[in-house]
């Protein structure tokens, strides 16, 4: 009995000492514990592959070969940067991104201005315009491929070409293939720019226009001095997103032309895919190319973000 009472006493005292310890766990520690699983997942799924692929970019390595990576320093980077074909890929990507983003911005902003004033059925029209960006890019590429087909497609017919022998070969003509991809990309993503612009336009206080009207400001002046500056931050965000996406564009190009004919529409993403997979499996070189793309995207994004901050400051 005496033994039992001693046990209980010691148990109570141990609980007493344990309870204050539990109470001592700070909010910070609890937060850390909750975040820990996410951090572990991030390290495993993002940080480790990022660092490992950086290491691989300095090696001669094929993921399907039964050989360990061989350290070759910056050779992959110098090969890429001194290869004319890679520069041609970058030029194709830049041309595509530039034309595509400019057209999307103009069309998206134009649509937003048209849909700014509510009218009967404007909600339905807005929703319908947004449909393309909700579709899967590969599905979009597949049905546009059919529409571009000079024998079966409707695109040439809508443009007024009825003679198949003189109709443009949108995906087979090296002068038109990139434009064909731009057309599809603009069709798909202009609504995204429109959506952000609409959000910006709806936030402009009406009194600014009233004051301008009292001062007999022209419509152009109101647009230039009120509408554009007010929408600019959101417009720049849209441009930033679209530029990054256009630079990484893969699905549409792969679905429409696979980089062809020849390599006239071979963007860096397509080149990266061909290098990393599709018979070549040059893991080292493709890792290096992936890092070059990453650096370019970060650089371009930084330029945009600076412009964005300037626009906000103004």
């Amino acid at each position: 009995m005496a033994q039992t009472s001693t046990d209980i006493t010691s148990l109570q005292s141990s609980q007493a000492t344990r309870q204050p310890r539990q109470r001592q766990m700070s909010d910070l520690r609890i937060m850390q514990l909750f975040i820990l699983p996410t951090v572990i997942l991030l390290i495993l799924m993002n940080i480790f592959p990022l660092i490992y692929s950086l290491y691989l970019s300095f090696t001669n390595y094929s993921v399907i070969a039964d050989k360990a990576p061989e350290w070759i320093g910056i050779q992959n980077y110098t090969t890429i940067l001194s290869d004319q074909r890679f520069w041609a890929n970058f030029a194709t990507t830049g041309r595509y991104a530039l034309i595509s983003v400019i057209l999307q911005t103009l069309i998206g902003f134009g649509l937003a201005l048209l849909l700014r004033n509510k009218f009967k059925g404007s909600g339905l029209v807005t929703t319908l315009i947004l449909v393309p960006m909700m579709l899967s890019p590969i599905v979009v590429a597949t049905f546009w491929k059919l529409m571009f087909n000079p024998s079966l497609g409707i695109f040439n017919y809508l443009l007024g070409y009825t003679d198949i022998n003189t109709s443009p070969l949108w995906l087979g003509d090296p002068n038109l293939a990139l434009w064909a991809i731009v057309i599809v990309d603009v069709w798909m993503w202009s609504p995204f720019v429109m959506l952000l612009c609409l959000a910006g336009l709806s936030a402009i206080p009406e009194y600014l226009y009233e004051a301008a009207a009292i001062d007999r400001a022209s419509a152009w002046f109101q647009f230039r001095r009120i509408t554009l500056p007010q929408v600019m931050p959101l417009l720049l965000i849209a441009v930033l997103f679209r530029t990054i996406e256009a630079f990484k564009q893969f699905d549409l190009v792969m679905g429409l032309t696979s980089g062809g004919p020849g390599d006239v529409t071979e963007t860096v993403s397509i080149r990266l895919y061909k290098l990393a997979f599709q018979g070549q499996y040059d893991t080292g070189m493709s890792s290096a190319l992936a890092y070059i793309i990453l650096i370019i995207i970060i650089a371009v994004s930084n330029l945009y973000i600076r412009s964005l901050n300037k626009a906000r400051g103004a």
Binding site: S167, G262, Y281
Partner: protein, 441 residues
């Protein structure tokens, strides 16, 4: 019923005789085979079902779309995975599968069981042997395939067409015997009727289509991808190769507009739509033309590759052999070998052919039953005697990429001349072969 009994008896005999070595495969209750997604894989599944009925071992044929098949396999190889036991891999993969250790050496198994003698030498060489001429086998030739031609007999036999063609070209309109004749016929039919074009040829550049299409002329013109020492300079860009490429581009000019990214499906579509008088395609895709989907079914004929200027005739090899995954355990390897042994038996091969599979078994190929089974089997059997393939060394993927690119640039995009395209291709291929140590600089 009788056939099923025969199968059962054969499998029982094989088991009693303990064919296949000392390792007992009795614990294995299922086998997984990887193949691309197409009709022959469905036929193999049916054959697999027969095997299950006979042995109790379930066979599952996992199909992956052609465009993704190599990527999926490559990823599995990288992981040294055991997701499959057997793989029906493309002929070009053999070198890579062997040198990188993904395929099991089947030489002893095939020779000791006499399987190597049951298939045509060309299929054994291209689907199973590595290095070429070594007598080492890594795959059992499963689906023999090659390029052939389908044509519109109604157009060829039309009296007006025959008279006009003879007046224009000075010889009778008939199945082309030479590539020059094929070109003339393609030109003749282009625009002959509204919406009709002379020919449809492979142009797709994402895997190997345009190269395979071009190879038919390339080899027949006496050109080759490499010489005896694997040199490509002056070989890939030889005068014969240039002439072949110019002819292929000419043929593309007589193809329906919009076939700039065309492979097997687009070939059949051009034919059934009534757009093309002749199409090239792998024999494996001709069953679609011998069905109600083809409005010209009764007027569809088939012929083999024409000859080149020197009288040589080659057809680009398709098809695949079945190989054993080197990363599975011994029991599964033994069970897989048992399956191959059963599959290679003449009765099974006959059943395989009946279902629509393209057997490589000599006896089945030569049988009247097989030759008369479909309108294209006779042409197929003849074609399998003059097939030729692309590189099958481990570097084939690296070599294929610029080949596709330069061919597409010239044929489809019309950039530069044939000589420029092949000169650039030869230089790039040479650089790859030097860098990988296949040839010395």
């Amino acid at each position: 019923m009788l056939k099923k009994f025969a199968l059962l008896l054969m499998v029982a005999l094989l088991m009693v005789m303990g064919v296949g070595g000392s390792v007992v495969a009795q614990d294995v209750t299922e086998l997984t085979i990887w193949w691309a997604q197409w009709a022959p894989a469905d036929f193999l599944q049916q054959v697999g079902n027969d095997y299950e009925a006979a042995t109790g071992i379930k066979v599952t044929v996992v199909q992956t779309p052609w465009g993704d098949f190599y990527n999926r396999v490559g990823t599995e190889w990288a992981a040294k995975g055991t997701s499959y036991d057997l793989i029906v891999g493309d002929s070009q993969w053999v070198g890579q599968g062997v040198t990188q250790g993904h395929y099991v050496d089947l030489t002893d198994f095939m020779v000791s069981n006499g399987i190597d003698k049951t298939v045509t030498p060309a299929t054994l060489q291209y689907y199973g042997e590595y290095p070429p001429g070594s007598g080492k086998y890594y795959a059992y030739p499963t689906e023999g395939d090659a390029n052939g031609w389908a044509y519109r007999k109604d157009l060829f036999e039309d009296e007006t067409n025959k008279a006009d063609f003879e007046a224009a070209y000075g010889y009778a309109l008939d199945i082309p015997q030479t590539w020059e004749q094929l070109r003339d016929i393609a030109e003749f039919f282009t625009g002959r009727q509204e919406g009709l074009y002379g020919v449809a040829v492979y142009t797709q550049d994402d895997y190997d289509a345009i190269t395979m299409g071009f190879e038919n002329i390339f080899f027949s013109y006496g050109a080759d991808w490499y010489d005896a020492d694997y040199n490509v300079l002056g070989v890939v860009n030889s005068p014969e190769a240039v002439a072949a490429l110019e002819l292929y581009r000419e043929l593309y000019q007589f193809a329906p507009p919009g076939t700039n990214d065309a492979f097997f499906q687009e070939m059949n579509d051009a034919f059934t739509n009534g757009q093309a008088a002749m199409i090239m395609n792998y024999f494996a895709f001709f069953p679609a033309l011998d069905s109600d989907a083809n409005p010209y079914r009764d007027a569809t004929g088939y012929f083999v590759m024409p000859t080149g200027p020197g009288g040589e005739r080659f057809a680009a090899l398709g098809g695949q052999g079945i190989s054993l995954n080197s990363y599975i355990d011994d029991a599964r390897k033994q069970a897989s070998l048992d399956f191959i042994l059963w599959f290679a038996q003449e009765d099974t091969q006959r059943r395989w052919a009946e279902l629509g599979g393209y057997t490589c078994n000599i006896n089945v190929l030569e049988s009247e039953e097989f030759l008369n089974q479909t309108p294209y089997n006779r042409a197929f059997a003849e074609t399998m005697t003059f097939v030729k393939d692309f590189w099958n060394i481990p570097e084939f993927g690296q070599l294929l990429e610029p080949t596709q690119r330069y061919l597409s640039s010239y044929i489809v995009a019309g950039q530069g001349t044939a000589q420029e395209a092949l000169d650039a291709l030869a230089e790039e291929q040479d650089a790859i072969l030097v860098e990988t140590g296949v040839i010395q600089p």
